[in-house]
């Protein structure tokens, strides 16, 4: 029976090619626009570390002066002073914990006639790699002892290794960073979680390539490497020694593996802040311990433009669906005579309804295929845009399948009204008119 409906539908669609083409085209445009913007939205609001994100937490505290503070309302600062970051790290309350800041590293290749260049870099502590599941191609990270000993070593990203050593195992070799010889202890595989959650609020970009150089915080500071972003909350006596200045420039992440651990850490954090208040260092008691996705939500990483575009695309799809309803209705009302004959020959209302829904579904599938083409074109356009996330805009399998779901749902919704009108048509007057 279903095959018969399909045959009927195809015959009917073929009879009025222009109208069919109009419907498919309009639906495809709407679907193309929707899938393009949804792909971007999904990409931008995605989980950067799906296997780990529920265990990563971002503690925040507030060293600012009392003025303007409203208890329970004022949000704590997004980054931390060196003193607080080190106090939290040394408490070892999490499975892993690391402090980090972004910086610029001047890399001077050892090869003759190679030009020096600047790369994005992270200065951080030993747990960074294990905590964020950063995968190593060669070697590994450094140890807490290396942190304390200000060891002259670095971890480099795969793309820097490709550039400097043509992809060979470079562990043990030396590169010159900011006029210091640094021994390579590890080479990462390509790794750049999106959105770039740990770069958020440290002066880094929200999307795009990862950093090229990772070096121990103490080592980098001994080399006078400065953070990309620094925020001071009081008059600064000496801006060179940001370890002791009233300035915030570090982000701290903690790995906590159970609900008890999270609750325990929150208690610890509150206790720490109360202790600082008692010591006279702090005036505000607010703390925050958001998990990774919560932190990204609070930071509102997804650009407003992208959300606006997605809304616009849905509006567009809505118009396309209304358009399809109108055209399907026109088509089916024109076939009143045919419906009358089928009803008179014994077809039930349900069968007429199914027949028209099948027809709508076929329009939807065709719209989906064409819409996929439009979506690929749209994404091609986005990849040529100057946005940070441009190069990441690709259609994955899930969105590919989702396209057809959207197409079918849209066309079936569009088909309900015409199909219903067709099935409630009384057969007798139609037969008479014919």
């Amino acid at each position: 029976m279903f095959a018969y409906y399909i045959e009927l539908a195809l015959r009917s669609l073929k009879r009025n090619r222009v109208l069919t083409a109009l419907m498919v085209m309009a639906l495809a445009l709407g679907i193309g626009a929707t899938i393009t913007t949804l792909t971007v939205l999904r990409l931008l609001s995605g989980d950067p570390l799906p296997q780990k994100s529920t265990q990563l937490f971002y503690p925040q505290i507030d060293p600012n002066a009392k003025e303007g503070y409203i208890e329970g309302q004022t949000k704590p600062d997004s980054i931390m002073t060196y003193v607080d970051a080190m106090n939290l790290l040394q408490a070892h309350r999490g499975t892993h914990q690391a402090a980090m800041a972004l910086t610029q590293a001047k890399v001077i290749p050892k090869q003759a006639n190679a030009r020096p260049f600047f790369s994005d870099a992270v200065m951080t502590t030993a747990d960074f790699f294990a905590m964020f599941d950063a995968p190593f191609q060669y070697g590994g990270g450094w140890t807490a002892a290396d942190d304390d000993g200000r060891a002259q070593l670095v971890v480099i990203a795969g793309f820097l290794n490709d550039k400097l050593f043509a992809g060979a195992n470079s562990v043990g070799r030396v590169i010159r960073v900011n006029d210091h010889d640094m021994r390579i202890v590890g080479v990462l595989k390509p790794w750049a979680p999106q959105p770039r959650f740990y770069a958020q609020d440290l002066g880094g970009r929200s999307y795009g390539d990862g950093e090229a150089v990772f070096l121990p915080l103490q080592t980098a500071r001994a080399m006078e490497m400065g953070p990309q972003d620094i925020e001071c909350y009081a008059a600064v006596p000496d801006v060179k020694h940001i370890e002791t200045a009233p300035c915030e420039w570090l982000g701290v992440w903690v790995e906590l593996n159970s609900d008890e651990a999270v609750a325990g850490y929150k208690t610890f954090l509150d206790g720490y802040v109360k202790q600082q208040v008692a010591l006279g260092r702090f005036q505000r008691t607010e703390t925050s311990l958001l998990d990774l996705m919560g932190w990204l939500r609070q930071e509102q990483v997804v650009p407003d433009d992208v959300r606006l575009q997605a809304g616009l695309a849905f509006g567009f799809l809505l118009i396309c669906v209304v358009n399809t309803v109108g055209l399907l209705l026109a088509k089916c009302l024109r076939r009143s005579g045919e419906i009358g004959v089928r009803r008179a020959l014994g077809a039930t209302r349900r069968e007429i309804f199914t027949q028209f829904m099948v027809e709508a579904g076929i329009v939807g599938l065709a719209g989906g295929v064409l819409g996929l083409l439009f979506a690929e074109l749209g994404l091609l356009g986005i990849r040529h845009q100057p946005a940070q996330y441009a190069s990441l805009a690709h259609l994955d399998l899930e969105m590919f399948l989702f396209t057809f779901v959207v197409a079918l749902v849209a066309s079936l919704i569009a088909g309900i009204l015409p199909a219903w009108r067709a099935c409630v048509l009384a057969p007798a007057p139609q037969l008479k008119a014919a």
């Binding site: 445009l29 260049f117 433009d305 567009f316 209304v322 109108g326 026109a330």
Partner: protein, 410 residues
């Protein structure tokens, strides 16, 4: 043309008529808002910088080995650049308008006030006013003996010794008007910290901040007499004639490279490129909105063509009867045109209400201003036109129906 017969016909096609009205209304609402958004973006991209945009070049270099005396190094570089042929003026600066990377400070009018008055950007560097080409509307420019080295200023800030700190500043008209509305700003004091009080000695016509993300605060700018050294993220700004920019940039880079072949050039661009880069997202968004509007209007037009064709086919016999009874081709043509005009008008009226609603929603969530009334007639005219163009084909086909159809059964 009598519209009553049209209305009575439409009453017999309620469902399809309402669908068409709905489609026009939705299109009208989205198009009005999209055009408004485009207008906003274009307006933003037109934001004045206050500088001689087509005459400026920016170069940033980073030294591989830190110079022993960064101030001497900077003076050497500037002297070298001045010698490049066809260079009109050279300045050193910590930032450029629309350059993104910025230095800012909290301004207070009273050193004891707990909360800042506002957050303004601070330009440092010598020879900025003549090189940028920004106009001084009152007071004087900064003089060489106003200037203090960055390091000296920082050290003085630590010790609280106010003698080695800068004492004067230039501000923009907008900032002056915001701080002291309707009053003469010259001679007034702005506090960057409790110990750093800067006396306003000159008022600039306009100078945009590097981080001009908020149009209202884009001109909150101060120029402070602090001398940059060649060890910070200093920019060299070169002013030349528009047609000489490419050759001057090449010659300037060669001169800097010659002085130290090891140094890395991190930025080399004209101010046109600075502006293009800063507003690239706005341009991309405006382009996308134009695309959506065009696609939307095409889809709506196609929808109108489809439904109008259907109506024409359905009413072939009626048209034949009317023709047989003496209606001219023109009458039939006008009938369908008027019908479309009526439907479009209802759709547009609904669309206006919807457009207003969407605008309210956007105002709530995206900090957009209210949709100006001027967009409503624009939207209406566009949709009327689209409707008339779309219906013309089917209407002509209807007009071509011969009267003899009336005598046939179908």
């Amino acid at each position: 043309m009598d519209i009553l017969p049209i209305l009575s016909t439409l009453r017999r096609h309620k469902l399809t008529s309402w669908l068409l009205i709905l489609e026009i209304a939705l299109t009208c609402a989205i198009v009005c808002n999209a055009v408004f958004l485009i207008g906003q973006r274009l307006q933003r991209m037109d934001m004045p910088s206050g500088v001689a945009e087509h005459e400026l070049l920016q170069i940033q270099v980073a030294d591989v080995t830190a110079p022993s005396n960064p101030y001497a190094r900077l003076a050497e570089d500037v002297a070298l650049l001045r010698q490049v042929p066809r260079v009109i003026s050279v300045a050193s600066s910590n930032q450029v308008p629309f350059g993104s990377s910025s230095s800012n400070g909290n301004i207070r009018l009273d050193p004891a006030q707990p909360e800042r008055t506002l957050f303004a950007t601070t330009y440092f560097g010598e020879n900025l006013v003549p090189t940028l080409g920004t106009r001084l509307v009152s007071g004087r420019d900064l003089q060489p003996d106003d200037f203090v080295d960055v390091e000296t200023a920082l050290k003085a800030l630590g010790t609280g010794e106010s003698k080695s700190l800068p004492h004067v500043t230039l501000i923009t008209q907008t900032l002056a008007e915001r701080l002291w509305p309707g009053q003469n700003p010259l001679g007034r004091i702005i506090y960057l910290t409790p110990v750093v009080g800067l006396r306003v000695v000159g008022v600039l016509d306009s100078l945009a901040r590097p981080n001009a993300y908020d149009t209202a605060k884009a001109q909150y700018t101060m120029v402070v007499p602090i001398r940059m050294g060649a060890n910070k993220d200093q920019s060299y700004l070169i002013r030349t004639r528009p047609e000489d920019r490419a050759s001057v940039l090449t010659a300037a880079l060669a001169a800097l490279k010659k002085a130290d072949p090891q140094r890395v050039v991190t930025t080399k661009r004209s101010f046109d490129e600075v502006r293009r880069k800063f507003f690239q997202d706005d341009r991309a968004m405006a382009g996308m909105l134009v695309g959506v509007i065009v696609a939307l209007l095409i889809v709506t037009a196609l929808g109108i063509v489809g439904l109008a064709s259907f109506w024409v086919a359905q009413r072939r016999r009626t048209i034949g009867v009317r023709r047989a009874l003496g209606a001219t081709r023109g009458n039939i043509l006008h009938y369908f045109q008027t019908e479309n005009f009526l439907l479009a008008t209802i759709g547009i009226a609904l669309g206006m209400v919807l457009a207003y609603g969407i605008n309210l929603f956007l105002m709530l969530h995206y900090e957009l201003p209210r949709l100006p009334a001027v967009y409503f007639p624009i939207g209406a005219v566009v949709l009327w036109l689209i409707g008339q163009v779309a219906v013309l084909g089917p209407a002509l086909r209807a007009a071509a129906v011969p009267p003899v159809v009336a005598t046939r059964s179908v």
